[in-house]
């Protein structure tokens, strides 16, 4: 089931979206959540957590499968950390129940749960050496001394910190501390590893390297990872599935590609990456195609991804990502999915160029163009009139 490396055919078709084609490459062919018989490993059932009047987690139901790399993604205060802390046992749900491997966690204190957590601050004991920090949990478990040494040595080697065993946490760099924290939480071989913003304190380059290290580690050890992050790029890179949260509830659960290409709401579309959103009225709807008359004065034809809620004459959102928009000086042949505007801003990022185009309606639309070649014959400049166009499969119609 856990094939190392990458697989390039996503083997899923969302049951309620029969028309949808495959959504790009995924990390591995691992989709237990599509298997109706698969038993969830962690199951939140109608969990609510209140702090006084504040509802941190609101009647949430969630299933996570064994060996999954699962991300909780959301802005701060959305309840994702509370969810993690309830799993670790630092908070008890106000109502509802959490099951781990079929066993209720109700009333089980943190030290009796087969769950370990990597803290956002790492929480490395400042008075202990790296070795003692890592050995702490093993000592608590009453494991024989020789075996502790063996296991600590093995994990130190895994995280490449053999030479730093005798150092105290304050004598380490941020990246080294992060690895000690990781080693300390995996050395007990927990059934489930919780990671609270594990890469939050690292600089960008180190973060990118560490993302892949974490993914490899998870597969090598065959653990279930549940990670909390507000960094969507981080979640996209590492996760098998992502739950996008807001105000204590899960808005959407899905693979990174599903979340990015088939968001179920404007909130999710806005939260992940950049998106252009237009308002429009549904003028025609078939099983295959939905036609909107946009408020910005152009007709949008989009592939139907939803069969029920949106009907004719209703107002809807149309969301499209910048990289799916073509920029040209020439007027496209098709009348629909095309709109004219003036170049308002240009951002050159190296790998791509961003164009902010001011439509005649006044709306700013963003398009990004991949710089596939080093040179451009006829570069588009400020105040140039351009046409923006896109395929019917490029954007998505969302309920208002």
């Amino acid at each position: 089931m856990t094939v190392r490396g990458f697989s390039f055919s996503a083997p899923f078709f969302k049951p309620d979206v029969p028309f949808m084609k495959s959504l790009g490459s995924t990390r591995r062919s691992f989709t237990p959540w599509l298997d109706a018989d698969a038993k969830p490993y962690i199951s939140f059932q109608n969990v609510t957590k209140k702090f006084g009047d504040f509802v941190a987690v609101d009647n949430l139901t969630l299933n996570i499968y064994e060996r999954e790399f699962y991300s909780l993604l959301g802005p701060s205060g959305c309840g994702k950390t509370t969810l993690l802390r309830m799993l670790a046992g630092f908070e008890e749900p106000s109502s509802g129940e959490i099951f781990l491997d079929g066993v209720s966690l109700k009333g089980v204190p943190p030290h009796k749960r087969p769950v370990n957590m990597m803290f956002q601050s790492y929480a490395l004991f400042p008075h202990m050496s790296v070795r003692d920090n890592i050995a702490f949990g093993l000592k608590q478990a009453g494991i024989a001394k020789a075996q502790i040494t063996e296991r600590v040595d093995a994990i130190l080697k895994l995280v490449k910190l053999e030479e730093f065993a005798k150092r105290k946490p304050d004598q380490l760099s941020g990246g080294q501390r992060q690895r000690v924290a990781l080693a300390r939480s995996v050395v007990l071989r927990p059934k489930l590893l919780l990671l609270d913003e594990p890469l939050g304190a690292l600089d960008k380059k180190l973060r990118e390297e560490t993302q892949f290290e974490l993914m490899d580690l998870q597969q090598d050890l065959g653990l279930t990872f549940m990670i909390v992050t507000h960094d969507q790029e981080e979640a996209m890179t590492m996760s098998d599935r992502i739950a996008v949260m807001d105000k204590g509830t899960v808005i959407q659960t899905g693979t990174p590609a599903e979340i990015y290409e088939a968001p179920n709401s404007r909130y999710v579309a806005d939260f992940i990456g950049t998106v252009n959103t237009f308002e429009g009225k549904v003028v025609e709807k078939t099983d295959k195609m939905t036609t909107l008359l946009g408020n910005d004065g152009f007709t949008i034809e989009a592939v139907t991804t939803d069969r029920s809620a949106l009907t004719k004459d209703k107002m809807a959102w149309f969301s499209i990502r910048p990289e799916k928009i073509k920029v040209s000086r020439k007027k496209p042949e098709k009348q629909t999915n095309a709109v004219e505007g003036e170049i308002w801003d240009i951002g050159y990022l190296g790998d791509m160029t961003l164009f902010n185009v001011k439509l005649d309606s006044g709306t700013i639309m963003r398009a990004s163009v991949l710089n596939a070649k080093r040179t451009v014959d006829d570069p588009i400049g400020y105040e140039d009139r351009v046409w923006l166009s896109f395929d019917p499969d490029a954007g998505i119609v969302l309920e208002r």
Partner: protein
């Protein structure tokens, strides 16, 4: 120019320490090696500077170590020292036993009420120390508030004899020095990241285990600071044993007082003070080492 000001800023505290600490100490040391006489001041030799260097040498040659012999040989002083050490040690442990939970409770209380709690700890300092110790007489004496209350409730039938005993001294020291214990412990606990405790719990520690292995261990610098801040002044304490301890309580502060003011034997009194200082140097050096290590660790 800059170096001149630099020297002044560094030099001022030294100058201050010399004038207010070193000089008085030297005078006390010199008195300790003198003989008592019926005169004003009541010790000899005096430095007669009119005879110049010769006179100085003459005076120094008259210095005697007799006072030290006397203090070491007379069991009264030895007992007073030992009794002081014992009372200070027990009081320190009692203060720690009360102060730690207090500091812990303060550090774990909601951020909004912490300043109020901190205020309450410091509040007693706003009243004179002497008056506060006096107030304890009213509480502890046989017909005092405490006995009246306990008898009216029916817990006891005859008044407890606490006033004029060592117990009253413990109560007085614990009460008076509690802030000195609470504040440094609170400071370390408040700084402590609570996620350390959660991490320990997560790694298999029970809540009691996590308390000892993490909280208590990380609070150790504060605990040490608090203990020394209570222990050092408690050894030489005079007011509390004088007012609450009665005649049976033997403490070196009281001995010192009676040598100076009742016997007017300044040389012996100075000797007692010098020996007390020598005893105190040990914990003070230990304290400073602990402090240095704590700052080192926090760096």
């Amino acid at each position: 120019m800059g170096s001149f000001f630099k020297r002044i800023t560094i030099g001022l505290p030294y100058f201050w320490l010399c004038i207010l600490f070193l000089l008085p100490f030297l005078i006390v040391l010199r008195v300790a090696f003198s003989e008592p006489v019926l005169a004003m001041p009541p010790f000899a030799p005096q430095f007669d500077l009119s005879e110049g260097w010769q006179g100085f040498v003459q005076s120094v040659s008259q210095f005697t170590t007799y006072n030290f012999q006397f203090v070491f040989e007379d069991s009264l002083y030895t007992n007073a020292y030992l009794s002081s050490l014992r009372i200070a040690l027990i009081s320190t442990l009692l203060t720690l036993a009360i102060g730690f939970p207090l500091a812990y409770g303060m550090a774990r209380s909601p951020m909004t009420i912490r300043p109020i709690l901190l205020m309450l700890v410091i509040l007693p300092f706003w009243t004179s120390f002497l008056i506060r110790v006096y107030a304890w007489i009213g509480i502890l004496k046989p017909e005092g508030l405490m006995n009246q209350f306990l008898m009216s409730v029916g817990i006891i039938s005859t008044p407890l004899r606490i006033y004029n005993t060592e117990i009253a001294v413990y109560i007085g020291i614990v009460y008076s020095y509690l802030p000195f214990m609470v504040l440094p412990i609170y400071a370390t606990l408040e700084k402590m990241d609570y996620s350390f405790v959660e991490a320990a719990r997560d790694l298999g520690c029970s809540s009691i285990g996590a308390f000892w292995k993490i909280t208590a261990r990380l609070a150790l610098p504060g605990v040490l600071a608090g203990c020394f801040l209570v222990f050092i002044p408690a050894i030489g304490e005079f007011v509390i044993p004088e007012l609450l301890g009665g005649s049976q309580t033997l403490m070196i502060g009281k001995t010192l007082w009676s040598e100076f003011f009742n016997n007017r034997d300044w040389p012996v009194a100075s000797t007692v003070a010098i020996i007390l200082l020598a005893i105190l140097v040990v914990p003070i050096v230990l304290f400073q080492n602990a402090q240095a290590r704590a700052t080192e660790a926090n760096r």
